[in-house]
Symmetry: C2
Subunit: 194 residues, 2 copies
DNA sequence: GCAATCCCATACTGTGCCGTATGGTGCATT
DNA sequence: AATGCACCATACGGCACAGTATGGGATTGC
């Protein structure tokens, strides 16, 4: 009983709070918020909940920390790179292209969208959605649309984005890489006419 | 102990399987599949689970029956009326307009979309989605698009639809009726150019 | 090399739901 | 009026997870 026995892919022996947060985000992306449960995560990490409750006071605290971590990384990795592009149309195209990369981040977003009833998740999704819609509206305005049309177009684009990440969850489009690129091209051409 | 004591809005005294299915769909539309639980539903209906297990062998059976009922009613009330319209463009407009009515049905669809991991729900949503995308693709083809573009446009429209019902869940758009009508107008104008 | 601290295992209680067993009550039929 | 069936209440066992209590092994600082 001296050696470590069974463990998934033999990770590090001792954990910290960040390890739990990352594991929570993995489970969240794969199986939704319900999978962010203490005991299942502990099994996944090869420890018991005795470990967990040293790092976090409660399950809610873990969820809170995990989604805050996601919100920040998503802001940095999706919004910021797009905002850096000067030309409005090209900025929109860049934003849409971000969806195909950063799979993990969008999987988390999709998972959060499926748990809006949760008190911790609802406000977050609402906040992030409002921020992105505002960002899109601004971009469409600078692309030459009037205020009203820009708002509508932003809503449409964001809805299409949300719908797409949801559909991607079941592989409903079931597209090859070429089909996907073609779809994105049409997507952009339809929403951002020139 | 002769009279009925407490009960929500005093419904009928004795229930049948259909009552349970309708209650299940209500709970599903309001709070997702997790709320379709035997004991909570029993409380909601003012009875105990002794009643439930007379009508259904298991919780899965109730879910199965409820979503089958929804699938049929949705087919009849959303797809069929749109399919009846002759002109392709007008048919698409009619389909999109259906979304603003039939709120309950779309709330259920949104709830099911948030529970794709469930073995009973996944195939259903996949089936319904494929059917609608095929329907949309066909409509776009008849509207003059080539096969490839029609498929992409159908995906885009369906994604926007899925995203919209999800966003409606948090009242993210937070639109007045006029704003909504205006949005739908832009939605149609953008996706179905003439 | 020793103590303090960090990290975790074990064992427990509590809760909410699923499913079963069994008995009881109202209603229709005869 | 008695019987049979449809419908429901009550009570029970089981499971999975949240959270607590406590002790023990590992590590670090000295």
């Amino acid at each position: 009983m001296m050696l470590r026995k069974t463990r998934k892919s033999e990770p590090k022996a001792r954990l910290n709070a960040q390890d739990w947060e990352l594991a929570a985000l993995e489970a969240l992306a794969e199986s939704g918020l319900a999978a962010v449960a203490v005991e299942p995560l502990a099994r996944r990490l090869g420890v018991t909940k005795g470990s967990f409750y040293w790092h976090f006071p409660t399950r809610e605290a873990l969820i809170q920390a995990a989604i805050e971590r996601w919100e920040k990384s998503d802001e940095d990795q999706v919004i910021a790179p797009a905002a850096a592009v000067a030309d409005p149309r090209e900025r929109l195209r860049e934003l849409i292209r971000q969806v195909s990369r950063k799979r993990q981040s969008h999987a988390v977003f999709a998972a959060l969208f499926r748990t809006l009833d949760q008190p911790l998740v609802g406000p977050l999704v609402e906040r992030v959605s409002a921020r992105r819609i505002a960002f899109l509206t601004e971009a469409f305005r600078h692309a030459g649309f009037d205020a009203n049309t820009a708002a509508n177009r932003a809503r449409l684009a964001f809805s299409a984005y949300v719908g797409f990440v949801q559909l991607a969850q079941i592989g409903q489009p079931r597209m090859t890489h070429e089909e996907f690129e073609d779809y994105i091209r049409d997507f952009i051409a339809t929403l951002i006419p020139r």
